[in-house]
Symmetry: C2
Subunit: 259 residues, 2 copies
């Protein structure tokens, strides 16, 4: 199958730009809605509405592609052959609901199982992180350099709250070897931090749509993306992943305990 990564990139950026405009308006609506039940219904609606819009745009532009997405409007994808889009309409829902910032929208694109393109919008900052191995990495129109390959001791690490608090997989030992621990609560926002060197590692249990775009971008930036037991990443299931500089991921893998 012949695909044009540059063309897909332009499509993704335009799409997420539109999604960003809508979600910023939604965030303001969300803030002004009175009761808790109404607020929650509203968020579910925003999520579904966004996914429906994104999926229909993808189907129109790439009729042969299949879609894996969070809210159920995607396809029943059984294998990774051909062009597969992963869609997370609102990532960091709790941040969207509770703080109206630090949430994202993400699309990852794979071709015959290989990472091709990724795009993540930090909605409230209106910054789109996008690109891939073939075309390089950008924030909006600006090309960015790969982050430095820092060791664990020199960087901040972000670990999902339940995992860190319960010390699952001995992760607190990894945290202790780092410069410090942060919890921002949205995979998409944290991928942005990794791509700009603000954090050096993210560890969490992620669904395919949580991981897809970030994996493309972080691998294109020279970082490592591994499942916690060092098995190959499987894009059709949820798994515990470590994403970070290659030095940090090596150190983390020798520190975590999987049994």
């Amino acid at each position: 199958m012949k695909v044009d990564s540059k063309q897909i990139d332009e499509f993704l950026v335009k799409l997420l730009d539109t999604v960003g405009q809508t979600l910023r308006t939604d965030a303001i609506k969300k803030k002004s809605v009175g009761t808790k039940k109404n607020r929650n219904d509203l968020v579910t609606n925003f999520d579904k509405k966004t996914e429906q819009f994104v999926n229909s745009e993808i189907k129109q532009a790439f009729p042969d592609a299949t879609i894996v997405s969070e809210e159920g409007y995607g396809d029943a994808v059984q294998d990774m052959s051909g062009l597969v889009f992963f869609v997370d309409p609102i990532d960091g829902t709790m941040n969207f609901v509770k703080r109206q910032d630090d949430f994202a929208s993400m699309i990852g694109v794979y071709i015959d199982g290989e990472p091709l393109n990724g795009a993540i919008i930090n909605v409230m900052d209106n910054e789109i992180y996008h690109g891939g191995k073939e075309i390089g990495l950008f924030i909006n129109d600006k090309r960015i350099e790969n982050p430095k390959n820092l060791p664990l001791i020199e960087g901040l690490v972000d670990v999902s709250a339940p995992m860190a608090l319960a010390n699952k997989f001995n992760v607190q030992e990894v945290i202790k070897k780092s410069s410090g621990f942060r919890v921002y609560g949205s995979a998409g926002i944290i991928f942005g931090h990794l791509l700009t060197g603000k954090e050096v590692m993210y560890m969490s249990y992620l669904a395919p749509w949580d991981l897809a775009a970030g994996r493309v971008l972080c691998e294109a930036a020279g970082m490592s993306v591994v499942s916690i037991d060092d098995a190959p990443i499987n894009m059709l299931k949820s798994q515990v992943v470590i994403v970070g500089t290659s030095k940090v991921v090596s150190e983390a893998l020798t520190t975590v305990k999987t049994r």
Copy 2:
């Protein structure tokens, strides 16, 4: 002693505006410096230089005031009589060093032991949170409303990383009762979140200069600021504090264990 809260507020805003401009330039310098040792020396210099500047401006404008500050250029303050300024030149040093965002500069002002004025600049966002009980609360020139008095279950909580990971004071039980756990790594940044309702509680071990400005602003916003054993806050020592909506602080105090 007769003091004019509006006049002090104007002084603080002008001062932090200047500090912000300098620190944004410093952050860029910091990013470009090569070796780790040089980078650390640079940060210490930024911290000291900022404090010296702030303290000398305060002394010039308020010659009778005393100053409690982090880096040692303040006075040996023994009691809270008269006008006392608390200065934290760079709050969230690790964020400044590692990510060049989410750090702050803070000044709190007390008169005969009573909270009077506070000002916190989110340096990279160029937002100054300021005001006090007498004059109300502002972000830059815009007056802000008090955040809603939400219960624990409806909001995100920020707890210092070492305290949360080690479950000190049974704090993980407080976290479990909330909507979610976040770690942003700077008291000043988190006070901004509390003032805008993005988070409903912050718990940490804070020095006087970490707490002073945030206490003034949060109390002026109708929130509660208590020491963990529910004793009166002592502004001349470090202590474990809980800051949050009054509902959340009540719930937290019945959940934490101090022995």
